[in-house]
Structure formats: structure tokens, C-alpha cells
Amino acid sequence: MEREKMSLLTPSTALRRRYLHDRLFLLAGRLAAIASFSTIGLIFLAILYTSLPAFTQSCIKLPIHFEETAFSDENLALADYDMLVAQALARIIPGVTDPGEKEDLMGMMSPGAAWRLQQMVGSNPKRIGTVEQLWLPASADIDMLRKGKLDRTTPEQRRRLSKRQLKWYDQLNAEGRIKRHFNRVFFTAPNSTEAELAGIYGAVKGSLLTMFITLVLSFPLGAGTAIYLQEFAPRNRLTTTITVTINNLAAVPPILYGLLGLAVFINFFHLPRATPLVAGMVLSLMTFPSIIMASRNALAAVPRSVCDAALALGASRMQSITHHILPAAMPGILTGTLLGLAQAFGECAPLLMLGMVAFVGNIPAGITDPATVLPMQIYLWADNSGQGFPEKTAAAIVIMMLFLVIVNTMVLWLRRKFENSHPHTS
């Protein structure tokens, strides 16, 4: 019976099962590939979507009277700017007398409103005595309400805005006094405890200073080490041990470098903690291995014939390296350095160990000023449960990813250049 059924044209049950198995296997592969790409796509979409509100800031238009009586003191910074804001509010929402009510009214504005006025008067004292209609930042709660992130139907006890504040908001909104402006503060200010005043410029500058130190330390030392190990060092046990050690160091968890930095740079050398200087030193320790490995690969990829030709024409060993091998390997070395720097740019575990978690409300001026870096700022904001901070965190992530995209584009460009520099190798 079985024997009769068997034919080359109709697959047997066993063969069918094998085909089914084959198709399931392919399906599993496809699903896995789709899953791994779509999860990461999802992460980005989620972050991008969360970040959008942070790029705008709700402002309220107030008629500010810079009355001369308010500036009786010689020092303009001592004037009561909060009072100016309160008076302006009272002008557009009259009839508020109860102290609690007044507090609620002031609560609609950000503390940054008074600060903005102070800056304006400081930069142009002629304003005193004039009346201006100004767009001043609203508080984080009003901002969230404007962006539709605050639910009006929540019972009043648990709601962040009182009934009165909602009524005033509707009144101002109807008068066209509330508008969303591009959030310039976010790109120009240092960190702040108030979400509407917090910016990433301090962190970006800290990151750039740190990267400067990392580059200055790790590029010459890393490239120099690679050239020595690849071109000059005798091939013996010691060199092999060093090579193996460097390969192993590339996979050491980053947090350990923070521990090392803490023990040596801060505890032993007493360098100022939480500064770009120490952070850059620790991160350069972390990037050494990858720079050395990438540079050695780039040097090894240059065809030996180039070197031989130079030697045959009478160049010395050093000349054949500096004039021929190094220029050919440079794109590869730069690629490795850039990738190492990109890794260091996004790394914050070692800096956690160095005490860079402290709040820094200033923009660092130099490498020995207390500073924070972009990934650390993201970590700190993610930890902050205040209104508006999740959006800020997502926006900071978007900015950080933009930096990394730029670096990766540079790497791709260098790689393409490298591929063309020695066509006969491939």
C-alpha cells in the first residue's frame, strides 16, 4: 500500500512535515527580525512622541507696568519683580482679594516670569516707567493643561489645579492671552528645579567639555600605542599579553571605570569631583581599548607592499610609516576614535560613581567647574517626578540622539573614503 502511494510528484507525509517545519523556521526568523527592529523603532517613536510638548512653552500675555516706585533701590536686582507680575495679573483678573485666592493666581505663573522681567530690566533700564504687553512663562501645571496632559475631570482634591485656576485659565484663553511659544529656554538654560525653567544647555556644554578632554587624552595616546604595538614592538610574550589585556579591557563593564576613577583620580590625586576634567579622564580610560583595537586593525589593513615600496626607495622605517602607512590608515583610526567618543558621549554609569549626579544649576565655564553631562541630565530628569519632566527627559534624549546621528554619519562618510583609498586591497 505505502509503496504504491509513493511518487516523485506527490510529496509524502514525512516530506510534507519537513516542508512545514522549514516554513515555520523561516517564519520564526522573519518574526524575530521584525520583532528586534520594531521594538527599537517603537522605543524611538514613543520617545519622540513624548518629547514633542517639551519643545514649546505656554506663555500668558500680561500688561506689565514698570513703575518707578518699584525700583527705588540702587540695585535693580533687589526690586520686587514678583509684585510686578502680581499687579499685572490683578489688572487682567480683577476682584481677587483673599490671600489664598491670590496665591492661586500667582501659582498660574512660573517663578521664571519674575526672573525674565529682572533680566529685561537689567539689560535695558530705560524700561522703567513704561508699560509693556509681555508674554511670560506660565507654570508647569498650566502648561500641562494647555498641552492636554492634565485631566479636568479629576476630583478637585487630587487635581493639581484648583477650580478657580481652571476658571481663570478659561477666561484668559478666551481673551487670547495664552499661547504656546517655541521653548527657547530649553536650549539656552542650565538645569532647574522648575520644569518650565530647566534647559539642557548646561548639560550639553558639560558633555562637550568632557568630550574635549577625552579626545585630547585618548586620541594621541591611543593612536600612539596602536602604532607602537603594530609597527615597532617586538613580537614576544609581553606584547601578546598586552594585546590580550587590551582586548579584554574593551569588554569590562563601564561602571568599573567609574570605580577606578574614584579610587585614583579623586581619592588619591584629589582632583575636583564632578568636573569635566575628571569625567573626561575616566571616559578616556574607557575608550582607550576600542581606539587602540580599531587603530591597529586600520594599520594592519594597509597593504605591506606600500611599506615595502617606500623602504626599497630608501625611506627609513619611521618615514615609511609617517609618510605612507599612517595617512592610509588615518580614516580608520579616526573612525575608531569617533566611535569610541560616541560611546563615551552616551555613557553615564562611570560618571554616576564620580558624583556627577549632583544638581548643577550653572553653565560650566571651564573644565574644572562642576558640571553634568547630557546622559546624566536624562537620568536625573527621568528620576524627577515633577510635572513636565518626563517630556523634558524625552526631549533631551532626542537631542542626544541627534548628536550621535551626526557622529555616525561622519563615521559612514569616513568609511566610504577609506574604502576608496586602497582599492586594490579588497
Partner: protein, 464 residues
């Protein structure tokens, strides 16, 4: 070093280069053409510049580094007897005060206290030492460059000297990198030994209570804190296991799909993307874990009526798993792709289906490479910090319930020393012991992985 001095010295270095080059030219012309010179004029120039720069910069750097200490020493020796014989702790404070007062702008009056006068003295002395040192550095550099300039003649091998120097510099780079690495490892080992003077290794490795924060409050050191690392190690292993459970199947199947099924064009486009994904900062994944995965698990828990904690080991593990998928798929793809085509063709020729070929021929051949990639991913998952700091908990529960909060080695390290000011409490030192533990673990895993990968490469070279 002040910026002015730095620029002045750089300028002088450039001048030294020109002087050396010009002198070599003149000598060459006098003795019958450039051919007569041993090296090119610019080699003489560079060597003259070096002769100036090396001693000058080294001396100036040393003076700048140590001026404060030397000045302090001199000031201290001039203080009255009763101040100099203070106990060490107070003397330290006193020196701090003197340094502080040295920031004063105006000279002290006649009836100012000894300390204020000492501060002023310190300030004056530092200025004098710096000026003297910098002048000395410039003189020394000029002297050494001048002596070399006089020595230049046709037979002087400037290029060889230059090359020797460059080689020496390159070797010094290697030395610096190797030395710092080892010095730093040694220092961590020393701190760990310190720690084991407070806490016995037996308690550390086999104790099952982890409450390091207690030691900070009581005055007596090491008497009250519990440093049993088992819960911490257990938490690390659990989170790593969850991560591997997520990442290994997904990563492996992605790699198989890429290398065996995807068209080469698709592979060329997707592979670099996958490699770029491996470079996403982990703090981004941490944010995702806190704001998306954590609440999702909480909601699922409510749905199935299971108690979950806001900081669960599951959330951290899942996100670490997502993070290491690119590592596994990229490295495994390399390994699978490197299996010679003839193995596949032989298997298909004998009638095996594609999946049978992959499972029974290709994967066994690529297995060492795949295991290597899995081990590298494992060490990355175990050492991951930001995701667990943000999404896992702090308390060292000794339970293996992934819905509860769990703690890891890295979380504890960050928590114990995050900006700590003192280094002699067992709780800070415990971070070093945990760090050494983590280091040894990842080192072992890496060595095994590299060993397997290397053996696999060797086998292929024979087989080709």
C-alpha cells in the same frame, strides 16, 4: 601653567625650528649643496625645536604642579612653634585656612593675625616660585637648543635622532596606557583588601543579608552593617537570566534570518542599522523601562490579579534583553556568514531542506562563534548599570520572584559610592569588593569567549 607662558613657549619652539632649519641650510650651502647634509634641513629644525621644547615644557609643568606645595612648606616652616607642632588633623585644617586666606587681595595690616600674614606670604611665595620656575624653564630650553645649534654640521644625524625620539614617544604612549590600566586595577584590589579587613570574606561570599547602609549611622565601624553579597549576586543572576531568555532566541533567529534567508541587498542595508543600534546609550533604554515597560507590567499584573512592584526585576531584565539583541544578532550573523558555502551546498545536494541544513550543518559549524557572541552579551548584561539603576530596586531581597524588586551588583555600587566623600567606611569599600567581583566575572566570561572564538577561527583556516 598659565596660558601666556604656554603660548610664549610654543612661539619659541617655532622660532627654534626656524633657527635650526636656517642654520642647516647655511652650513649646507657653505659646504657645497644640500646633498652634503646627513639629513634634510627640516630634520635639524625639528630637532632644535625638540631640544627647546622638551626641557622647557617639563620644567615649567613641574614648577606649576608643585609651586603650591613648595610654597606651603616654606610658609609652614616660618610659623611659630606652637602652630607647627599641632596634631596632624588640626595642622591639615590650619593649612586649609592659610590657603583660603591667601585669596585676599590686599596686603594685611600691621596688626593682622599670624594666619592672615601667612596666607599673604603664601600668595607672594607662589608667585615668586612660578616666575622663577618659568624663567628657569625658558633659560634651560634656550640653553639646550643653543648648544645643539652650535653642534649642527654636515655629519650630524638629525633624522636618526628625531626618529629615535619619536619611537621613544610612541613607546611612552604604550607605557602610559598600560601603566594607568594596571595601576588602577591594583588600586581597586587594594581597596578590596581594605574592605576584607572590616568584613570577613566568609560573610561577604556566603552571607545572605545585605544592609550596608547601617554601618554609616553607628559610630563603630563594620559592627552593625551586614555585607552578605548573596542576595545581590542572586539579583544580578536573575536579571541577567531574564535578559538572556529574551535576547537569545530573538537575536539568534534574527541572525539566522539575516545570514541565510535575507537577500544580500536587504542584509547590506539592515546590518549597519543593527550595528548602530548597539551604540544607543543605555540611559535611553532605562527611560523606556521606567516609563513604558514598568507601567505595562503593572497593568498586566492588575489584569491577572498578581501583585507587582513598581520596580520589578522583570522590567529591567526585559529591557536589558532588548538592549543586547543587536550584539547577539550582529556577532552571530558574522559567525554564521563565515561558514563556508560548500557545507550548505553539500547538505542541500543530499536532499536536506533549508531548515535542516541550518539546524544540522550550519549552526553546529558556527557554534563556537555563536557561543562567543552569547558570552559577550552575557557579560554586557551582567555589567549593565543605567537600566537597572533606573528600573530595578535597591533592597536586597533574597527572593527569586521576577515581579518583585531585585538589586544588582551595579546598582549597589552606584548606590554605595554615588558621590561619597569618605573612603574608610566599610559601605564605601564594599563597592570596591563588589566591583572586583564583577570584574572577575566579566573577565572570566570574556577570556572564555575570546578563547572559543579564536579556536573557531583557527579551525576554519585549516578547513578552508
Amino acid at each position: 601653567m598659565s596660558l601666556h607662558i604656554f603660548f610664549l613657549m610654543t612661539l619659541l619652539t617655532a622660532i627654534a625650528f626656524q633657527l635650526g632649519r636656517m642654520r642647516a641650510f647655511r652650513i649646507a650651502v657653505r659646504s657645497g649643496g644640500l646633498r652634503k647634509l646627513h639629513s634634510l634641513p627640516r630634520h635639524y629644525g625639528s630637532y632644535t625645536a625638540l631640544r627647546f621644547a622638551v626641557p622647557a615644557f617639563i620644567l615649567a609643568g613641574l614648577v606649576t604642579l608643585f609651586a603650591d606645595d613648595i610654597a606651603m612648606h616654606l610658609v609652614w616652616d616660618n610659623l611659630p612653634e606652637q602652630l607647627r607642632t599641632l596634631p596632624e588633623e588640626q595642622a591639615k585644617l590650619m593649612r586649609q585656612v592659610i590657603i583660603h586666606t591667601s585669596g585676599n587681595q590686599s596686603p594685611p595690616g600691621n596688626n593682622a593675625s599670624t594666619i592672615i600674614r601667612a596666607g599673604w606670604q603664601l600668595k607672594q611665595l607662589i608667585t615668586i616660585i612660578l616666575r622663577l620656575g618659568w624663567t628657569g624653564a625658558l633659560l634651560l630650553g634656550t640653553l639646550s637648543a643653543g648648544l645643539f645649534l652650535r653642534k649642527i654640521d654636515c655629519t650630524l644625524p638629525a633624522r636618526l635622532a628625531m626618529e629615535k625620539f619619536m619611537r621613544w614617544i610612541l613607546a611612552a604612549c604604550t607605557g602610559v596606557v598600560i601603566f594607568t590600566t594596571f595601576a588602577i586595577l591594583a588600586s581597586v584590589a587594594v581597596e578590596t583588601v581594605h574592605f576584607f579587613q572590616f568584613v570577613s570574606p566568609l560573610e561577604f561570599f556566603f552571607g545572605h543579608t545585605w544592609s550596608p547602609q547601617m554601618a554609616m549611622h553607628t559610630g563603630q565601624v563594620g559592627a552593625s552593617g551586614h555585607f552578605g553579597a548573596l542576595p545581590v549576586i542572586g539579583g544580578t543572576l536573575m536579571i541577567t537570566l531574564i535578559a538572556m531568555l529574551i535576547a537569545v532566541p530573538t537575536g539568534l533567529f534574527t541572525a539566522i534570518y539575516f545570514s541565510e534567508y535575507a537577500s544580500s541587498r536587504r542584509r547590506h542595508v539592515l546590518k549597519p542599522i543593527l550595528e548602530t543600534l548597539a551604540g544607543i546609550p543605555t540611559v535611553v533604554y532605562g527611560f523606556f523601562a521606567v516609563f513604558t515597560v514598568g507601567p505595562l507590567i503593572g497593568r498586566l499584573g492588575l489584569l491577572f490579579d498578581v501583585e507587582t512592584s513598581t520596580e520589578s526585576a522583570l522590567a529591567a531584565g526585559v529591557v536589558i534583553g532588548i538592549m543586547i539583541i543587536p550584539y547577539i544578532s550582529s556577532l552571530s550573523d558574522d559567525a554564521i556568514h563565515a561558514v563556508p558555502k560548500r557545507l550548505r551546498e553539500g547538505s542541500r545536494g543530499l536532499g536536506a531542506t533549508r531548515s535542516e541544513t541550518i539546524l544540522q550543518v550550519v549552526l553546529p559549524a558556527a557554534m563556537p562563534g555563536i557561543i562567543g557572541s552569547l558570552l559577550l552579551a552575557l557579560s554586557r548584561a551582567a555589567g549593565e548599570t543605567m537600566i537597572v539603576v533606573m528600573a530595578a530596586g535597591l533592597a536586597g531581597n533574597f527572593s527569586f520572584n521576577p515581579l518583585k524588586s531585585a538589586t544588582t551588583i551595579t546598582v549597589q555600587m552606584a548606590n554605595l559610592v554615588g558621590g561619597a566623600g569618605t573612603f574608610n567606611t566599610p559601605s564605601t569599600l564594599a563597592a570596591f569588593a563588589l566591583g572586583l567581583l564583577l570584574f572577575l566575572f566579566t573577565l572570566t566570561v570574556n577570556i572564555i569567549a575570546l578563547h572559543i572564538v579564536r579556536r573557531y577561527h583557527a579551525r576554519y583556516q585549516e578547513g578552508m
